[in-house]
């Protein structure tokens, strides 16, 4: 039931991997996945380098008709979604975030939009808290792991959350403390295995049942207990 999924990029991260994961999970499916990465919480030491690399990757992405080979990102699904995406680009700029790249509706003839990256997003801004469901990345700076976890958990949604790090302590601390139903370590926030439970925390689900894999039976069945006296 919605997400605003964070990917934390620590100073010790593999930079190329981090950019690749954001492109895949943030711009793949035109950002229209409930598990899409939409907040990138980046540690100060790597922020500049990461921001440059992400800008370059975003601006070189080929947007177009999904039936044509070479297309890396399709259009928004309809006019309503495109309008929402463009509205949030304006909201982000009005709130004082810095639009580094993209955010314009691009080609005629379809609901296309250029993948967008905002930097210097504050966790109090609407673009950091509300689900856009489009290819819009919000970069939020963090001092350290503690600050990153606190910012990851600062909003109402809690579906999927990721961290890019080479440090086991960072990875497991994040996995233990992030408020999300799905945690990805050095993997994209999107993409699910069908044989494991799936579902969100907080406003990302009804907080009743999980889906998929061995969890599905819980929702789709009811249990009857039978007492048989045969003595």
């Amino acid at each position: 039931m919605g997400g605003k999924n964070p990917l934390v990029v620590m100073d010790d991260a593999d930079l190329k991997l981090a950019v690749d994961l954001v492109v895949r999970a943030g711009f793949g499916l035109t950002g229209q996945a409930c598990t899409a990465t939409s907040r990138v919480i980046v540690q100060q030491g790597i922020a500049k380098q990461f921001s440059l690399a992400l800008q370059e990757a975003a601006s070189s992405l080929k947007v177009g008709n999904g039936l044509e080979s070479g297309t890396q990102m399709g259009p928004a699904v309809n006019q309503g979604q495109l309008d929402t995406d463009l509205d949030y680009i304006k909201i982000g700029q009005d709130e004082g975030a810095k639009l580094l790249v993209g955010g314009k509706s691009s080609q005629e003839g379809g609901y296309f939009i250029q993948p967008a990256v905002f930097d210097f997003v504050d966790i109090s801004m609407r673009i950091a808290r509300e689900e856009i469901f489009g290819p819009v990345i919000c970069m939020i700076h963090a001092e350290d792991l503690e600050d990153a976890i606190s910012k990851a958990n600062a909003i109402a949604f809690g579906l999927s959350a990721g961290i890019v790090t080479r440090d086991l302590h960072n990875a497991f601390t994040f996995a233990d403390r992030v408020e999300a139903g799905v945690v990805k370590i050095n993997e994209a926030t999107t993409g699910l295995a069908l044989q494991v439970p799936f579902g969100g925390f907080k406003h990302s689900s009804a907080n009743t049942f999980k889906e998929q894999g061995p969890a599905a039976i819980e929702f789709y069945t009811r249990t009857k207990t039978v007492y048989v006296g045969h003595g």
Binding site: M1, L29, G109, R222, V226
Partner: protein
Amino acid sequence: MYNNFEPGKRLLVEVDFYLKCSQKVQRNERFKMRSSKILISGQWLEAGDGAKCANRNPADLAQLNPAFPLATVEDANRAVAAARQAQAAWSTLPPPGRGEVLDKASQMIAARSEELAALITREEGKTLAESRAEVDRARDIFRYFAGEGWRNGGSVYPANMKGEMLYSKREPLGVVTIITPWNFPIAIPAWKIAPALIYGNTVIFKPAQAGSLIGLELAGILVEAGLPPGVLNCITGEGGKLSAALVENPSVNGISFTGSYTVGTHIYTQAIKNLTRV
């Protein structure tokens, strides 16, 4: 359910019977038919008032996709009634027999994967590579849950006295409403419909409008794979109106929804009045 099941002849006879009952339709006619008809009780029907709606290809607005029906509240209620009527027979078919149908559906999805992927891209806009991956996922989900037909057992507990046996077993929830979004228009329906069916439930499936054509295709595949009439019903059309009918109907025992927080909380609030599981 396992207690009633004897492997071998009986299972084969029942499955064969269902496969023979299923409608075989020519492939080229099928697309046309499903895209313009809703599925209720095994019949492909016009929507109550005959209304239809066409989406444009989001990557090429000059291209109009085939029109899908705009079902009415009466259609929704008929679909619930059909699912209710079919539930008892479906739930008494031994689970491995239900699994046979899902396994067949998985194979049919695999055989038609390119066609299905292209339909998703035309209707929803994602790249062909993304659509193919999603179709493959749907294929695997049906295969996984087909196997559940062999696994779903129960538990036996220690008794409190001599000459007593305590056990628990799973029964189907009953009739379930499945409401799905457009962003994974075959994978999400698959991950809801496959477990619903294997555990013995009957279904009313309402895909998002931008996933109507692929939703009807999936329903058609399941019918062709051997689902008896009424076990899966599929209606397309306007979300708010239809989901209200499908959520508030007291014959519905469960609602599985994926979508926005706003719609989700609304459905939850509607469902709680009947204490319907969400």
